[in-house]
């Protein structure tokens, strides 16, 4: 199984859209794709077509077996597990992450975890094959957060593959263009690609769908395909 954790470096960087679109992009190669929402304020389900009234998720169940009832499948075949409302004393997030191992039916299955911005990366049980994408936008605040993160990463005990992924990039903005150029050569761990700002990503959620289905000729589609391809090659390099 291949695990990808996506977390915004701060709130509002657009992590959930990336998870939803990435899941569908990975699904295009017909492998099992699971998307798990770890964010209490999360809305991954809405991105993937879950009914608005549906309130339950894995956090409402005491054990994994019963939580699995909450797996939904969207039209593309992505199986996603919403957070729920934590009504009872349900599972905590480390246990849900560990339990997902049980679902590992094949070697090429992908598990994407939508992580909340406020939970620090060090609290996750990561091993060296895991890919952790920290989503940043091109502004000075994310720049400073990124460097702070680099400091904390130095003191980490375990190791995993950590990348900064730029989202909502708008090259028309002078600051963003300058900053990205700076990051591409001066920011360690920056991913070799970025997701462009595209209105269709926002619009797609209003259609209860993902951008790559709504606008196959858009740059967003291209970006997510590129992201999927890059992750596939990263993961296969891990296996070597």
């Amino acid at each position: 199984m291949k695990r990808i954790f996506l977390k915004g470096i701060k709130g509002g960087t657009g992590t959930t859209s990336i998870v939803a679109n990435l899941a569908c992009a990975l699904r295009k190669s017909n492998v099992p794709v699971y998307a798990i929402d770890l964010d209490p304020k999360g809305d991954l389900g809405l991105h993937l077509g879950l009914a608005w009234e549906h309130l339950l998720g894995w956090s409402d169940y005491p054990d994994f077996a019963s939580a699995c009832e909450q797996f939904h499948q969207d039209n593309d075949g992505v199986r996603f597990l919403p957070y729920g409302s934590r009504s009872n004393l349900g599972l905590d997030f480390s246990s849900i992450i560990e339990s997902c191992q049980q679902l590992n039916d094949s070697d090429d299955s992908w598990f994407l975890f939508d992580c909340p911005a406020h939970v620090d990366v060090h609290r996750y049980p990561l091993n060296e094959d895991d890919i952790f994408l920290e989503i940043i936008n091109c502004d000075a605040i994310c720049h400073s957060f990124a460097f702070k993160r680099l400091n904390t990463l130095k003191q980490a005990e375990s190791s995993w593959q950590h990348y900064f992924l730029t989202n909502k990039y708008n090259s028309a903005s002078e600051l963003e263009s300058d900053l990205l150029q700076l990051w591409q050569s001066e920011l360690p761990l920056i991913a070799p690609l970025y997701i462009n700002k595209d209105e269709v990503i926002k619009e797609a959620t209003a259609f209860r769908n993902v951008a790559i289905n709504c606008a196959p000729y858009s740059v967003a589609n291209d970006d997510f395909e590129t992201l999927a391809g890059w992750l596939v090659s990263r993961a296969s390099q891990n296996e070597q």
Binding site: A140, H143, S144, F147, L150, N151, L153, K154, A156, S159, H162, L175, D178, L179, Q181, L182, Q184, S185, E186, L187, P188, L189, I190, P192, L193, T226, G229, W230
Partner: protein
């Protein structure tokens, strides 16, 4: 994790160099994308917050980077 290398090139959008090398041999690793060092320096100088962070990071850590060229004023 103590030190991380800055990896440039090997992007998936390196279209024109790919085409060139595909037609005439040579590996993609042979071509070096030159970094605009001068522009980056100007960016850091332009925005004080970035400047502060840059000063702080060069003082406290030594990040190993491939492709460090001498920063020289080129006019």
């Amino acid at each position: 994790m103590n030190d991380f290398a800055v990896k440039n090139s090997h992007t998936l959008t390196q279209y024109d160099i790919e085409k060139l090398l595909r037609q005439f041999g040579g590996k993609e690793t042979d071509y070096v994308e030159i970094v605009d060092v001068e522009k980056n320096r100007k960016t850091i100088e332009k925005y004080p917050l970035l400047n502060d962070i840059a000063l702080a990071t060069t003082q406290t850590q030594s990040t190993k980077k491939i492709n460090k060229s001498a920063i020289k004023t080129h006019k």
